[in-house]
Symmetry: C2
Subunit: 338 residues, 2 copies
Amino acid sequence: MRATILHAPGDIRVEEWPDPVVERPTDAIVRVVAGCVCGSDLWSYRGVNDVPEPRTMGHEAIGVVEAVGAGVERVREGDFVVVPFNHCCGRCAHCRAGQTQGCVELAMTASGQAERTLVTNADATCFVLDEAPAPDRYAAVLALSDVLPTGYHAAISAGVTPGSTAVVVGDGAVGLCGVLSAQRLGAERIIALSRNPERQRLATAFGATDLVGERGDAAVAAVLELTDGVGADAVLECVGTEESMTTAFEAARPGATVGYVGVPHGAAVPWRVAFRNNIGLRGGMAPVIRYLPELVPAVLAGELDASAVFDLELPLADAAEGYRAMDERRAVKALLRP
Amino acid sequence: MRATILHAPGDIRVEEWPDPVVERPTDAIVRVVAGCVCGSDLWSYRGVNDVPEPRTMGHEAIGVVEAVGAGVERVREGDFVVVPFNHCCGRCAHCRAGQTQGCVELAMTASGQAERTLVTNADATCFVLDEAPAPDRYAAVLALSDVLPTGYHAAISAGVTPGSTAVVVGDGAVGLCGVLSAQRLGAERIIALSRNPERQRLATAFGATDLVGERGDAAVAAVLELTDGVGADAVLECVGTEESMTTAFEAARPGATVGYVGVPHGAAVPWRVAFRNNIGLRGGMAPVIRYLPELVPAVLAGELDASAVFDLELPLADAAEGYRAMDERRAVKALLRP
């Protein structure tokens, strides 16, 4: 098959790669109809994470089931499925408690930026749609494989409630989906931290009521100014750096929670403010499978549409341009069509 | 008055010091009937925290109101009061939300190990008892000024619920009060990490159902063994070091919360396990004033008794011995009687 292969930092190519095959009876193979590039893919592309050997890329995908193992009962060949980036067994104590990201058999989609991808524990993992969506809805549906439930997880983890004031740190695709999710959860005021005019426009379209272009201490001061000196009821941390984490804690009112979903890179809890103000921290990898029964119907009904985060659409062959555009912040998120 | 003065790390003496006086109309002066030494006092005694100049010590006290400012209305001379270590105004947005530790006028008891101490915002801060407790109940009542509500805060922050399994990291006075609080909140199983026979005995008396003498990875393995490989529903972190924080996160089941109350000294969130397992972190300085309306009646009724954490009782003059005994772990917590 054709697949996006990262050879070394900055060296990404679409080339031939062995097709994934059913290895365990619970596996399925999905023909990818749409995949995309995640902000976390850039950690390897930029060399922040090691790239010891060439590897396929992409953990977000939707597509059609092409083959299933002998033990797969619910999912069938021909089904159109959303493939959550984290695959879960559905049987262990953690899955049964809704903590699907903590599954004892946790695995990840490994070739979403390719023609085919393997899904482990397919019955518990794949979300089967009643029918294939129209191609112009692929972007909205693709967002369900990671970026939308991850933004939603930030909002849920931060404890956004109806009428609350939420701050969203990070104007990447996840942060924007955090804005959309905060709106869905009824936040009355959503303060988005962004200095990029195009992303500010998207944040506003997704429900942001206030935009703060400052960073660091100045951003915190702006949030306090907007909240009568009290701070935000809930803060979504969608970056994962030391600066963003500190800003998140300092913008929170005493007793509030920082919902974080950015993979922490050098982040540290600012203990002084956390301790005195009792700011909680909750989040991590999104339990995508837990959220899909709620989010999929809303997306299919058109009530929830994160498709605007895909501001660049390319044929799979041009995946490298997708990475470049995101690396240079010319694009929020690149959708790839095999 | 006679007061415990820390001159330099390791150099603590009881000597004459100016009496505190009413400076603001909302102040009160309390004649201390009982005070005590806190584990956090040892940070300065050991030189981990700076001691730039001689200072009074002690933030825990019960006693009799001796003088009040002109603006104090509720509290009267002669009242027997519990003095929460953190003083709060009761009027700001944070106090009104129950986040008394985040009060905009936050202040601390500064001479609990002395004959007298100043209480700011006395009306909102002091908890007035209907009558003075009998001297043999001083220890149980004194625990209400900090150590018991702090252990309770760990349990509340960790989300201990009836029937749950709780792990308590730390066998100091706060950890032991965490065990007692987890029992009060209905935990079915309470696993206390302690290798000290005397503290193990206290933990058991306070409700611990299991004792784990190991530390670090071995302690985590023991907790997993005791919980069928799942981990604890709630973890109380009552130490504040890097090792204790890591142990707490690793002993938690996915989706659980670490309730922390130890002032963090070098602690860091172990991001890998926190992120994948969605382990939350909540706690910090206890909002003592919020908890007292619930805890005081239980203590006065004898339903809740943390007095056993005071395993050393000394006249104020011997405060230095109290510090030495706690520093050398010969005592859990020293009570001082002026």
